[in-house]
């Protein structure tokens, strides 16, 4: 692997880009005036275009490919630094936590159609299953809250398994209608039934791990207070790190290879003896599990959930994130989620028009850059291997 010096040199572009992006995001979140935000956004776009033009992007990509694990640590540190900078700003920290939770959910979706090629237009419904599980369990049972995260995921996977049979038996458009029907069915069900709160929704208790109340601000000394969202950011980061590592390992393993084969050509994969049913069930269930975990965490953070959070439109936003980021590339998800969640909140001008603009943006991407912002790189087995 070369000397320590070579290691550091190969990591430099990655670290440099991480620092630059962190500083940029901090600036973006800190400034208030709309003109300054617009200027910053323009500067960001120009910087990225310049980096692409002069080969900086390629160098950063190579750096990440070579030193992935070490750079993951750098990125976690960067998020923590960001959190530390805004330690008492509730709104900004809520945004950061939301981004983290959405990335977890999109990782699940990515497993399903990034790798296995299974359409799932009910992402928000499975997210909702996680949320409602958390709501019911925190209010009615003494179950430890970390376990509730798992329970949310398990419930989503179990409910998803009801759809397995129709999804497996149908193809492309036909299977899309199964998930779309489920997404609508789920929201209507939540609205009309009484036990789960109906249209008014449910309250959810905040997380409590070993007596540590997550929904209280952290007070250190007399006059130093840290917003309670920091708790959720830390837990979210841990879950995200686990989920991310899991998805990356899965992608690299022969399981991921099988999933890729099935997505690219089901008939050919079956001819080579792959058990299509088994791998599709695996991908669908694991994906729903991740979405459900994200939902449970989200519910406990917000403290209140209602059916309007889980509309078909929200499912579409999840799908757009995966597509915008570059189908099958977990890093793309992080970038796309950050853009899609932070941009409308900061740029108040577009807040009202955000669905219109999202829609138009996705249409343009599909027409002109269907592989997404960060296309999925070729599968590599040796660190630093480059296609000739």
């Amino acid at each position: 692997m070369g000397s320590a010096r070579a290691v550091i040199v190969s990591m430099l572009p990655g670290i440099g880009s991480a620092v630059a992006v962190t500083v940029y995001v901090i600036l973006l979140l800190a400034v208030e005036s709309q003109a300054a935000i617009a200027a910053l956004l323009a500067a960001g776009v120009i910087a990225v275009l310049a980096a692409v033009r002069f080969g900086g992007m390629a160098r950063i990509g190579r750096s990440f490919a070579e030193r992935e694990d070490a750079l993951h640590v750098v990125i976690v540190l960067a998020v923590l630094a960001l959190t530390g900078f805004f330690y008492e700003d509730h709104f900004v920290l809520l945004l950061v936590a939301t981004v983290i939770i959405y990335v977890i959910a999109c990782l699940g979706l990515n497993l399903q159609f990034g790798y296995a090629g299974m359409l799932n237009f009910a992402g928000a419904a499975f997210f909702g299953v996680g949320c409602y599980t958390a709501a019911v369990l925190t209010r009615n049972t003494p179950m430890p809250h970390l376990l509730i995260l798992v329970a949310g995921g398990v419930m989503a996977a179990v409910i998803g398994s009801l759809l397995i049979l129709p999804v497996l038996r149908t193809r492309s458009h036909y299977s899309a209608v199964v998930t779309i029907a489920f997404a609508l069915l789920f929201k209507i069900f939540l609205e009309v039934n009484d036990t789960l709160g109906g249209p008014q929704g449910l309250r959810v208790d905040g997380m409590n791990v070993l007596g540590w109340e997550f929904n209280d601000n952290i007070e250190i000394g007399d006059d130093f207070e840290v917003a309670f969202y920091v708790n959720y950011i830390v837990v979210g980061l841990i879950v995200l790190a686990l989920a991310f590592t899991f998805v990356r390992r899965l992608e690299r393993s022969w399981v991921g290879l099988n999933l890729d084969a099935i997505r690219l050509d089901e008939t050919a994969a079956a001819c080579f003896g792959l058990n299509i049913t088994r791998w599709k069930i695996t991908a669908f269930t694991l994906g729903n599990f991740l979405i459900g975990v994200a939902g449970a965490l989200y519910a406990m953070m917000l403290g209140f959930i209602a059916p309007t959070n889980f509309t078909f439109g929200d499912s579409l936003i999840l799908v757009s994130i995966v597509l915008l980021g570059g189908i099958g590339n977990p890093w793309g998800l992080v970038v796309a989620t950050t853009i899609l969640i932070i941009l409308p909140e900061k740029l108040q001008v577009i807040q009202e028009y955000r669905f219109l603009l999202f829609g138009a943006m996705v249409i343009l991407i599909l027409l002109f850059r269907p592989e997404g912002l960060l296309p999925r790189p070729l599968r590599t087995y040796l660190p630093g291997w480059q296609p000739k």
Partner: protein, 306 residues
């Protein structure tokens, strides 16, 4: 249950079924010629209804107040505008993605639907609120016990039936219909026989979108109200109907539309749970049917391509 109430439910179910069938026929036409799902179809319907409403307001403004003239104006303007919109969607958004994976087209049209109904919400005056749709048909009603027969409902039903028969004739009896069927069956062969593929696709999209506009006006006249978000549910129901009937088959789509309306009506009338669950019931049955017949009740005649 007495006969009058039963008749009322049947009448209501038939009206809903007619609307769903009209929407489903559009889906199935698009799928037939291009093997794509145009998910903006439901929102094209909404735009059509709003275009009709705007035409009505415009006509009232310039002093045309004779209801049949207004109705004719509303129908013509809405149908023609949506036909143009449909052809434009096909030309600039759907055809360029012909070689891309089907998921891309599906997503693109879903997003287009979002753009369309958001545009209504933001740019139509007070578009976020439900809009009153004028009653342009005679509103006499005859009561038979519990059953109230409204003249306008009968007229709507007959008009819908007429349009469906018209589509049937166009598809089966005209040269245009022959070309559409040829393209649906085999694009390459149709091209070698001198059929202008792009033109046929555009015409098919125009027909489908015109149908959607008609269904939108039907919806407005029947309920007396339209809103920007009505297209999503109608679109999904129409899509489900087309799928359940078997994509690419017009009769399947019509059967599917009436089947869905029947399921909703059964959900209201004959099931032990509250009537608010009717859509949950209908969608559950749709999912079950999909598990039982994965390519719909009347399945496509295609061979597995390897």
């Amino acid at each position: 249950m007495d006969v009058g109430l039963f008749g009322q439910y049947v009448m209501n179910g038939l009206m809903l079924g007619m609307m769903y069938a009209l929407v489903a026929v559009g889906f199935t036409l698009y799928f037939g010629v291009l093997d794509v799902i145009n998910f903006s179809h439901g929102d094209v319907l909404t735009v059509g209804a709003f275009a009709g409403l705007a035409t009505y307001l415009g006509l009232s403004e310039i002093g045309v107040s004779w209801a049949p003239a207004q109705l004719a104006g509303v129908l013509v303007v809405a149908t023609v505008c949506m036909a143009v919109l449909g052809a434009a969607i096909a030309k600039y958004l759907v055809l360029p993605l012909k070689a891309a994976p089907p998921l891309n087209t599906l997503l693109l049209t879903l997003m287009l639907g979002t753009v369309l109904h958001e545009a209504i919400r933001l740019f139509y005056p007070l578009g976020a609120n439900p809009q009153r749709f004028p009653p342009l048909l005679p509103t006499q009603a005859y009561s038979f016990g519990n059953f109230t027969l409204r003249i306008d409902n009968v007229m709507l039903l007959l008009a819908g039936l007429g349009v469906i028969v018209g589509i049937h004739l166009v598809i089966n009896k005209t040269k245009l219909g022959l070309a559409i069927r040829a393209v649906a069956q085999d694009e390459e062969t149709a091209k070698t026989m001198g059929i202008n593929f792009t033109l046929i696709v555009l015409i098919t999209f125009a027909i489908g979108s015109g149908l959607a506009a008609f269904a939108g006006i039907l919806h407005g006249l029947y309920y007396g109200e339209i809103n920007f978000a009505m297209g999503l549910l109608l679109g999904v129901i129409g899509f489900s109907s087309a799928i359940v009937g078997g994509l690419g088959n017009i009769y399947g789509a019509i059967i599917g539309g009436f089947l869905f309306a029947a399921l909703q009506t059964i959900g209201v009338v004959a099931m032990p749970f509250p009537s608010a669950y009717k859509d949950v019931f209908a969608f559950t049955v749709i999912i079950l049917i999909m598990a039982w017949r994965p390519t719909g009740l009347i399945s496509e005649k295609i061979s597995e391509r390897v």
